[in-house]
């Protein structure tokens, strides 16, 4: 049995009076990929953002319940939010490299953390690009703009950039939705490799992608956690009719 990395207890989130997450409790296991699926507006992204407190920037938001990462409640008053965010790398739907070189993109976090030694930075950049399965493709272009890369490569730069601050958790919000099938396959392969060392939570609208890459799948509908189980179970014999209707395309 794997250890729990994130424990969520009775989490509710609302924007003003509009509830977005309704009383969700679940355990996310260490070194596993957990997929969040559900129709648009069901609360997947909101849920993801509560895990690294990205929602803090929204004044209208109300959050109740508890989120523990390694038994530390991330919504307790004395938490260091910067340290928390270092633990949780985030990759978004649209790749968003800085308008800088590939090297500077990946070295950005370590530099902010005070690493100045060029050799040390180079080693970090190299290792992260290798982990992101991009090194072989960009080794000779490290100082070219990251914006010159293809969409799939840019997304892998963003993954390398997230890895450079040594996170423990990777939050991915539809990381391959804008990519062609080959680039998508590379990202998916990468996710499977990365789970050896990271706990990964991925939001995806692509059912087959959830089935391919995740160990556990959570189905959310209108802010409620309808079903959370092993991916194999969800895609062969879900317990709830609502889940079955959604994944088989009978929703709506």
């Amino acid at each position: 049995m794997k250890d729990t990395k994130i424990r969520i207890e009775s989490l509710s989130v609302s924007y003003g009076n509009k509830p977005a997450i309704k009383n969700i409790s679940m355990n996310i296991l260490k070194n596993q990929v957990t997929a969040l699926i559900g129709p648009s507006g069901c609360g997947k992204t909101t849920f993801l953002k509560t895990l690294n407190r990205l929602n803090d920037f929204n004044d209208t938001i109300k959050i109740s319940g508890k989120v523990f990462i390694d038994d530390l409640n991330i919504y307790s008053k004395n938490i260091n939010v910067i340290e928390l965010r270092k633990k949780t790398g985030m990759i978004f739907q649209k790749s968003n490299p800085f308008p800088k070189s590939i090297f500077d993109n990946v070295a950005y976090g370590p530099r902010v953390n005070g690493i100045k030694n060029k050799d040390e930075l180079y080693e970090i950049v190299k290792s992260c690009l290798m982990k992101a399965a991009l090194w072989d493709e960009v080794e000779n272009y490290l100082f070219d703009s990251a914006l010159k890369l293809s969409g799939g490569q840019q997304q892998r730069v963003c993954i390398a950039r997230a890895l450079a601050v040594n996170p423990e958790i990777l939050l991915m919000d539809e990381p391959a939705s804008a990519l062609d099938p080959l680039s998508t396959a590379r990202i998916e392969e990468l996710i499977l490799e990365l789970k050896e060392n990271y706990t990964i939570i991925i939001v995806t609208h692509n059912m087959q992608q959830a089935a391919r890459v995740s160990d556990m799948t959570a189905y959310l509908y209108m802010g409620e956690l309808i079903e959370f189980d092993k991916t194999r179970k969800i895609f062969t014999n879900p317990s709830k009719k609502q889940t079955e209707d959604y994944i088989t395309g009978r929703y709506g």
């Binding site: 895609f235 062969t236 994944i247 088989t248 395309g249 929703y251």
Partner: protein
């Protein structure tokens, strides 16, 4: 059950279901006729069964292609996945049952018409039971009725006993009537074939249980106390 948002997916699944039901009716008829031919030693009927096997083969190919098409175009999951996976397996088993009917018929052609085997053996009761078993297995698929499937599992056990008994009866008759040794050998082959057909009927029902209840009961037919595979 709700419809799929993509209507074409529903149409493809319905087409598959309809073809399997048609196939079920065809093999039911093949088995019924082969048993009639056996009981009445009707060689003309046996010939019809042999020629009808081609029609079953045709629909078998259509079903297989239909399943491939659904996998390639719609990537079914959950109940749809179980349905298409079961369809492939049920189709294969139905086709085998038709082959068996044809094989029984070929053997009937070599039985000496002067041999009155019907009264001295269990073939009449076996034929009746096999026809019932095949009909029930086809119905269990058509109506997705696992109650019928479980009935088939139990009836198969009964039939198996009678088939075994029948084997011994035929051997005894053979010893007493060596002049008909070839005919009795054919009857032993038919006896064995009937067992195979019953086995495939059980296989169809195992697939129905998988399709409807998502339980794999293969290889654990008579001990449901075991945990699911």
């Amino acid at each position: 059950m709700n419809n799929h948002i993509i209507k074409q997916f529903d149409e493809e699944l319905n087409k598959l279901r309809a073809r399997l039901i048609k196939m079920g009716l065809m093999i039911q008829e093949q088995i019924e006729n082969s048993m009639k031919a056996l009981i009445h030693n009707n060689q003309k009927l046996a010939l019809t069964i042999i020629s009808n096997d081609d029609k079953v083969d045709e629909i078998d190919l259509k079903i297989e292609k239909q399943c491939l098409k659904i996998f390639a175009l719609h990537q079914p999951v959950a109940m749809d996945l179980r349905f298409v996976i079961s369809a492939i397996s049920i189709n294969e088993k139905m086709e085998m049952i038709s082959d068996i009917a044809s094989n029984i018929s070929k053997n009937i052609l070599s039985i000496n018409l002067a041999l009155p085997y019907q009264n001295n053996t269990n073939f009449s009761i076996i034929a009746e039971k096999l026809v019932g078993l095949i009909r029930k297995s086809v119905d269990s698929f058509t109506f997705q009725d696992t109650k019928l499937a479980y009935e088939v599992f139990n009836e198969y056990l009964e039939l198996k006993k009678i088939i075994k008994e029948n084997y011994n009866i035929v051997i005894e008759l053979m010893k007493r009537n060596p002049a008909f040794i070839e005919s009795f050998t054919r009857l032993i082959i038919i006896n064995r074939n009937i067992h195979f057909a019953a086995n495939f009927a059980v296989g169809i029902c195992e697939e129905v249980v998988f399709m409807v209840e998502a339980k794999i009961v293969k290889h654990r037919l008579f001990d449901f106390s075991k945990p699911d595979n």
